[in-house]
């Protein structure tokens, strides 16, 4: 069978990324140009600046992806590009570039859902995963539990009603003065502290559904910070550790409760927050106790990347699920 090389392009937030993936799971290159340093001083991603960076960087990133994969542009069989959800101005850069590239190569192109790409990252690295499964999708914009019978048939069991987990990390990190991006900043601070010395709530843990809510936990952490600051007894590391512990506990418990309820033989975790080492540790522990196999992408594949887009693009390619020239980008699902 002829090998199929897919070029993936991803510009949905603050990473300009391109990758070449062969036959859906052989990652020939995975280039990520992160803008973290550019956005750092603003305490979060500035959409207009992200869009400007993308259009400056996209050419070099794609060129590098081809070079690192040791393929010429003519060896590309199709182009897969993230067209939803994300920052609209940022998405439009990658989409416009990828569409034009595919058009000029006279090759098909596919619009890819960024979140499905995150889930697919697991299948690139663990080809042995079988369906059905429960997937916890946890990132800066989303916190959802999804039941997947296969790639096409999925059911949303529950999602966050307010802040996404990654968003809560960012906001608490900013409030505690730990820096940006919040996930790694809180994780680093938490490693120097101890959970349990302060007590924060475990929101929705007692509820019998699969919804999440992290806004209250975030506010509780901020209020506790203010209170402890007033009497001069704040240990920011211990507070970070307790916040992280509370958030992780809710994610772990709800995910495995869903796996038991729906008799899912496998659990997946996907999205940027899946890179959090405490979440990985507690998930592994729970998997062992529950005897339910657990899959994570590697840390590099958790954050936004184009290999996951190209990998999923291969499946769209096989199904001839090609986009038309008027494909647009959408900020939401």
């Amino acid at each position: 069978m002829k090998s199929i090389n897919i070029l993936g392009v991803e510009t949905s937030c603050d990473e300009t990324a391109a990758a070449v993936v062969r036959n859906g799971d052989e990652v020939l290159s995975n280039i990520i140009n992160s803008q973290i340093e550019v956005h750092q001083r603003y305490g979060g991603v500035v959409p207009e600046i992200a869009s400007r960076q993308h259009v400056e960087n996209i050419g070099a990133v794609v060129t590098e992806a081809l070079r690192a994969a040791a393929v010429s542009i003519q060896d590309i069989d199709a182009v897969a590009v993230t067209n939803r959800p994300g920052l609209i101005g940022a998405l439009l850069v990658g989409l416009s570039y990828a569409k034009a590239l595919a058009y000029a190569l006279n090759k098909p192109f596919m619009g890819i859902n960024h979140l499905e790409g995150h889930i697919y990252a697991n299948f690139i690295e663990h080809p042995s995963i079988t369906f059905p499964l429960i997937c916890l999708l946890v990132s800066g914009g989303h916190t959802s539990l999804i039941y997947m019978e296969d790639f096409q048939n999925t059911r949303l069991l529950g999602a966050t009603r307010d802040d996404a987990a990654g968003e809560a990390f960012d906001k608490v990190a900013r409030f505690l003065g730990l820096g940006y991006p919040g996930g790694p900043a809180v994780e680093k601070a938490a490693a120097q502290g101890k959970a349990g010395l302060y007590t924060l709530p475990r929101p929705y843990l007692d509820k019998n559904d699969f919804e999440f809510s992290f806004s209250g936990l975030k506010t509780a952490a901020m209020n506790m910070c203010n209170k402890l600051n007033k009497n001069g007894s704040l240990n920011v590391y211990d507070l970070a550790a307790e916040f992280q512990e509370a958030l992780v506990e809710v994610l772990v418990e709800k995910t495995f409760k869903a796996a038991r309820r729906f008799s899912a033989p496998n659990v997946l975790v996907a999205g940027g927050v899946a890179a959090n080492s405490r979440l990985r540790e507690m998930m592994r522990l729970k998997s062992k106790i529950s005897d339910i196999p657990l899959f994570f992408p590697s840390v590099k594949m958790c954050t936004d990347n184009a290999a996951m887009i190209a990998g999923l693009g291969y499946h769209h390619y096989k199904m001839k699920n090609f986009a038309k020239l008027d494909l647009n980008a959408y900020p939401g699902l």
């Binding site: 001083r41 603003y42 500035v46 207009e48 600046i49 869009s51 400007r52 993308h54 259009v55 400056e56 996209i58 050419g59 070099a60 794609v62 060129t63 542009i73 101005g89 439009l92 850069v93 990658g94 989409l95 416009s96 570039y97 990828a98 569409k99 034009a100 590239l101 595919a102 058009y103 000029a104 190569l105 038309k324 020239l325 008027d326 494909l327 647009n328 980008a329």
Partner: protein
């Protein structure tokens, strides 16, 4: 020589094909749909209807700015994708020069004004009497009142000139301009009001003969104005 010209810096999506000095196709769309949906289908349609394929082109040309930030990026990202895949050279022309070229060889000055929102305009004044637009002031983003003051000063220095105002900013601030310039000003008629891909193609053909091409990977839009976040950051400092 066959040049494909893409103009996306305003609400207009414009595509033109220039073959050996002749405009053989121009599509001008200024109706609701956004550039990301229209641009590539219009490029495809233009080439098909003229029985060309992309590989027949000599170069791709774009307006590089100023203009709508998103529009500029859609145009540039599309041009980069086309040129990277095909190996075609890329030519970039400032938007306001393209707009001024609508009245090439005219003795009127071209006062080019695009509505930049936030009570500002992107502006420049060109002497177009020799054919190619020659700027009489730097391209800038200013309040329309500043444009008026600067332009009145220019007019007083150069004496008897009259000015034609082109661009959507001329319509947004029409009353201000009429009451400031009086008889020394004409607002461009509808067919000259917007930057045209045909005018871009014509200016690009001159650059093509001089081999003035852009570095495809490094090229960025000429925004003129910084992002709001950067402006606020400097104010806080």
């Amino acid at each position: 020589m066959l040049i494909l010209a893409l103009e996306c810096s305003t609400s207009v999506a414009g595509v033109a094909l220039l073959k050996d000095g002749v405009i053989i196709k121009e599509i001008f769309s200024n109706y609701k749909k956004n550039h990301s949906e229209t641009l590539l289908p219009v490029i495809d349609r233009s080439l098909n209807e003229c029985q060309y394929v992309l590989q027949d082109l000599s170069a791709v040309a774009i307006t590089i700015g100023p203009g709508s930030f998103t529009g500029l990026r859609i145009g540039l990202a599309t041009a980069k994708g086309l040129c990277t895949a095909s190996g075609l050279p890329l030519i970039a022309i400032p938007t306001l020069e393209v707009l001024a070229h609508n009245i090439a060889y005219n003795s009127l000055w071209a006062g080019t004004i695009l509505d930049a929102r936030k009570n500002q305009v992107y502006m420049c004044v060109y002497d177009v009497s020799g054919g190619e637009p020659v700027p009489l002031a730097p391209v800038n983003a200013v309040a329309p009142e500043i444009f008026v003051a600067n332009t009145l000063e220019l007019l007083s220095i150069y004496g008897e000139h009259k000015i034609m105002l082109l661009g959507d900013g001329a319509i947004t601030y029409r009353k201000l301009f009429e009451s400031s310039f009086h008889q020394r000003m004409i607002i461009a008629p509808a067919h000259l009001l917007w930057p045209r891909a045909a005018a871009l193609a014509e200016l690009a053909s001159v650059k093509f003969t001089k081999n003035e091409f852009e570095n495809i990977d490094l090229l960025k839009p000429l925004y003129i104005r910084r992002s709001e976040a950067e402006i606020r950051w400097d104010e806080l400092k």
